[in-house]
Amino acid sequence: MGCGITLWKLRRFLKDYKLQLILGPLFKLIEAVFELIVPLVMADIIDNGAKKGDAAYVWRMGLVMAALGISGWCFAIICQKSASIASQGFGTKLRTELYKHINSLSHKEIDKFGTSSLITRMTNDINQLQLSVAMLIRLVTRSPFLIIGAVVMSTIINFRLAIVVYIATPFIAFVLYFIMTRSVPFFKMIQKKLDKTSLLTGENLSGNRVIRAFSKQKSENDKFYEATEDLAKISLRVGRLSALLNPLTYLIVQIAIIAIVWFSGGIVYTGSMTQGEVIALVNYMTQIYLAMAVLANLIVIFTKASASAIRVSEVFETEPSVKEYTKNPIEINPDAPKIEFKDVSFAYDGDYDLRNISFSVQKGQTVGIIGGTGSGKSTLINLIPRFYDVSKGEILIDGVNVKDYSFRQLRKQMGIVPQKSSLVSGTVKDNMLWGNKDATDNEIISALKTAQAWDFISKSENGINSVVNQGGKNFSGGQKQRLTIARAIVSKPQILILDDSSSALDFATEANLRRALNSNIEDTTKIIVSQRVSSIKNSDLIIVLDDGDMVGIGTHKELLENCETYREICSSQLSEKEASV
């Protein structure tokens, strides 16, 4: 298996468990040796005890056998203990490192992998690898040893008859290998079909209102029927193939046994072999078969594990595109504008999504950014905390290039409220502490008040200790937005960035929010991205974006006079009277 290389790459996570990696297989090997000795002792009991009528000898050797069994058990336990320490330790270390690495990746890489895929890699894939380490320790020596041991023993007993064993063994190996490699692609297809049924179920749940509104229940059921039919068909196809595995290997082994019996007839007739040796050969053939089956399972586990190893290594090998270069100490220029864009252009890949943007914002100012869908509003603000790096030009904060700050220094001075408001499970207070882990209850309440969230939080029984479900599902869209705004305010940011984050608020609440922001945190520089003119029209500076270009900059009044795009936006949203205010 060529993918073994990828598994090898992860070996560094095992380096603390060298002792277990040696002891485990070693003791398993000793146990296997004992397992091979037991039948010999039994033969001895029969030949020298039973046949010679020596009952005392029978009892003595019986005790030896029992002792062998008990020490074999002890060795097995040592092996199992090593396996559990090493495999779980390996998994734990791998998880810690992978999580750390994911945390170091920037938005671009996270988008590339997708969160659901990262989650599977963190959980399922690592569990699979953990299992393979345990199996490695438990079985990697035992099965090959039993196979080789059996082959060697048969050769010692009778070289000519052992040829049957030599031929049969690769045959079994081939059948195992053939059927397994043939079924692997099917298993991938099954997984895909299963993903599809899962997707359909998820869509059916999230869109249940729409489905019922269009009365499409039947066609949704039909779609699902088709998907499950596909799944059943493929499962049956692979079932037909893998159902061959046991019968075929059984046939090969039995035919080999028949051959041994038939040819041994001639050999025994000439007197160069005994009856007992024939029995032994038959037993060794059976042993090879059993060990092969275990080995085959081991191969399946390792094939799966190497697929997992590839997926995990892929994450490790991805370097964050935005890197931290700290140039300490940073010298802040108190006279410089708070934020300054100097001829900034940016491309995700290929074409520029933002072109030659230049502007500067003074401390305490409010900046509004407006423009159509896809005009580059969110892209622009994502450049300030370095979620992405500029392709050309530079961004300065307090006169220092954002690239010269450490991530922490840079991001801790900002409060960012994303478009999609997300809360984590815990209490309201837990969520607020994200901004500042030392915030007092009073600070939290005042932030909630500024964000217009205090009225509904104060009404709930537990106040700021109210429970937040995962994703904040127990709050309405507007409530979630207000809580995320409060969370950003708790951190007492020097720069507050609101990325279209009051869209679910009604006019009255939004107006109150705007007023509170202006009066309660006046020293904070505020950047407000919005689709609504009313949200930004009183800003000190308004930037109008259109398809990646800055087509206007100035106050509401100035822009009404000299920016066509802005006028267009205004006339669509405001009455004549409102626009001219």
Binding site: S84, L118, L200, N208, L244, F456, G477, R514
Partner: protein, 580 residues
């Protein structure tokens, strides 16, 4: 649900494929008998190879001929048995999934609103698989295991009764040891799976919120939390894995004792002249063989338990009550004028908290009703009632004089075109999404609808145009684009009434003008309900419903409501307050 009934119901599912089950059992009996017979024949053949110049070649040839038939038969019937069990298991899995899925489309919407979706998906996908793997594969293993045990006992009894009794009595010891270990490790397993669940939950939540973690420079705290759970998982994982892995060597130890015991008693019997050497070696073989199915059977039991628990979870969905069925004489309305009479309705989600109380409203064909109120005031409740996603507790809603409870739900819902706050698209092409309500629409119709929703230009710029594939939840489209597609979807169906739920809130401003125009056009002559944010929409409405905390506070047109100087008056004024 009791274990017994759950099992019965699973068998009920498999019962549809009874011919495969019966065949599987018959094949299993044949295959196991043949596999047991093979070593006996091999033994007989070996008995004919006694020693130098004493080999019965013809006898061996005869036995080998029979043996060939036996092993080919054993292989063949094993294969047939596996094919049958596959059939039963995959078809049962398929049927169970279908029934569960079908149920999701017939339960009251409140079930879907209140049950975590991840949980339901988990049941449809994983739990059903556990039933397939555990129970059905388990049953065959159990069955062939039992046949093997019974067969072996019969063969042993034929050889020697005394030793057979010894073997039969001692062997279950290994089963006992295994079950003792399983019971002792159960608690550790539970602890491990709870911690594993905690870690998965944390991972899922924090990786989904990775961007948030970054923007708050929260990485160190998150890593610390993660490490804490991870460290706990390591401790209980090592424990659980170690103690559960004791069961394999321990049962082997017991089996080893059985083997030794048979050897000692057998040899003593030989010394006493009760048994031949050949019989002892035959017994030893059977003693080995006899313990194997026991181990297999014990291995199946935990799988069985998982499967039963999973089946219980699946049936709990299937057993959910259906939405109240349509009245038997419910009419199938094709179209309507759009006169709506709401007479004295009351409604509440939970009995202790009444939301809408004795509300009446009369809407004439073609009127526009704006629903206004602060965030979270329960505007969707009203829509839920209009479309009968939920039923009113008392009072009635009539369309053109017919109570909506006397119409079929499907035909009622087809009267409305709905654009929801959260646009729902499914993974499929853009065309498939637009034609969702009218699958037989022609290309011209689709393009016309897309044009009037102002999304045609965007679509034609895409490399695959209307055949562009939209990924899950419309992931590759912006909010605005998704909403425009939903509008196009409604426009294509051209229903007589409309429900627009904050439809234009996140479409960019320039498109919004055009959409507004398109809406004006489509609304012409149609009764429309709009959850409104925009002042112009509100002002132009024939009727405004002002809602707060789920109640309908005021109703009337803009001027009437202003004159009232009530809640609406304050709401309206506060909008301008920010501008002064």
């Amino acid at each position: 649900m009791k274990k017994g009934t759950t099992l019965k119901r699973i068998l009920g599912y498999s019962g549809k494929h009874i011919k495969y089950i019966i065949s599987a059992m018959i094949f299993a009996i044949i295959y196991v008998s043949l596999t047991l017979l093979a070593p006996v024949l091999v033994g007989q053949a070996i008995d004919k190879i006694v020693g130098e110049n004493d080999v019965d070649f013809r006898g061996i040839a005869n036995i080998i001929l029979v043996l060939l038939f036996v092993i080919v038969g054993a292989g063949l019937f094993q294969w047939l048995m596996l094919m049958c069990t596959n059939m039963v298991s995959y078809l049962t899995v398929r049927d169970m999934r279908r029934d569960t899925f079908k149920k999701l489309n017939s339960v009251p919407l409140s079930y879907i609103d209140t049950t975590p979706h991840g949980d339901i998906i988990n049941r449809v996908i994983n739990d059903v698989d556990y039933v397939g793997d555990g129970l059905l594969q388990g049953i065959t293993q159990l069955f062939s295991g039992i046949v093997t045990i019974v067969g072996t006992i019969i063969f042993m009894l034929a050889l020697n009764v005394k030793i057979t009794i010894v073997v039969v009595i001692i062997t279950p010891l290994s089963v006992l040891v295994a079950s003792l270990i399983t019971r002792a490790t159960n608690k550790m397993y539970r602890e491990q799976s709870v911690t594993q669940g905690e870690l998965s939950g944390f991972t899922e939540e924090f990786i989904s919120n990775q961007k948030l973690v970054k923007s708050f420079a929260h990485e160190n705290i998150a890593e610390k939390q993660f490490d804490e759970i991870n460290a706990r998982l390591k401790v209980c994982g090592q424990k659980a894995q170690f103690y559960s892995s004791l069961s394999n060597p321990s049962t082997r130890l017991v089996n080893g004792f059985v083997y030794t015991g048979v050897g000692i008693i057998g040899s003593i019997s030989v010394i006493n002249g009760n048994l031949s050497v050949g019989q002892v070696s035959c017994f030893l073989t059977y003693a080995n063989q006899y313990t194997k199915p026991f181990n297999e059977v014990t291995g199946v039991i935990p799988q069985f338990q998982t499967a039963l628990a999973s089946a219980g979870r699946i049936f709990s969905i299937i057993d959910e009550l259906d939405e109240k069925p349509d009245n038997p004489d419910a009419v199938n309305i094709q179209s309507c004028k759009g006169n709506i009479e709401i007479e004295n309705i009351s409604f509440s989600y939970a009995p202790e908290k009444e939301l809408i109380k004795n509300f009446s409203l009369s809407v004439k064909s073609g009127q526009r009703i704006a629903i206004v109120g602060p965030t979270g005031c329960g505007k969707t409740t009203f829509i839920n009632l209009l479309m009968r996603f939920y039923d009113v507790n008392s009072g009635e809603i009539k369309i053109d004089g017919i109570n909506i409870n006397d119409m079929t739900r499907d035909s009622l819902r087809n009267l409305y075109g709905m654009v929801l706050q959260e646009s729902w698209l499914y993974s499929g092409t853009i065309r498939e999404n637009i034609t969702y309500g009218k699958p037989d629409a022609t290309d011209e119709e689709v393009i016309r609808a897309a044009k009037s929703a102002y999304i045609h230009n965007f679509i034609s710029r895409l490399p695959d145009g209307y055949d562009t594939f939209i990924s899950e939840q419309g992931g590759n489209l912006s909010q605005g684009q998704k909403q425009l597609l939903c509008i196009a979807r409604v426009m294509l169906c051209n229903p007589p009434m409309l429900i627009l739920d904050e439809a234009t809130s996140s479409i960019d401003t320039r498109t919004e003008i055009r959409v507004q125009k398109a809406f004006d056009k489509i609304m012409q002559g149609k009764t429309s309900f709009i959850v409104a944010h925009r002042l112009s929409t509100i002002k132009e409405a024939d009727m405004i419903l002002v809602m707060k905390d789920g109640n309908i506070l005021e109703q009337g047109n803009h001027n009437e409501l202003l004159a009232k100087k009530g809640f609406y008056y304050n709401l309206y004024n506060s909008q301008f307050a920010g501008n002064n």
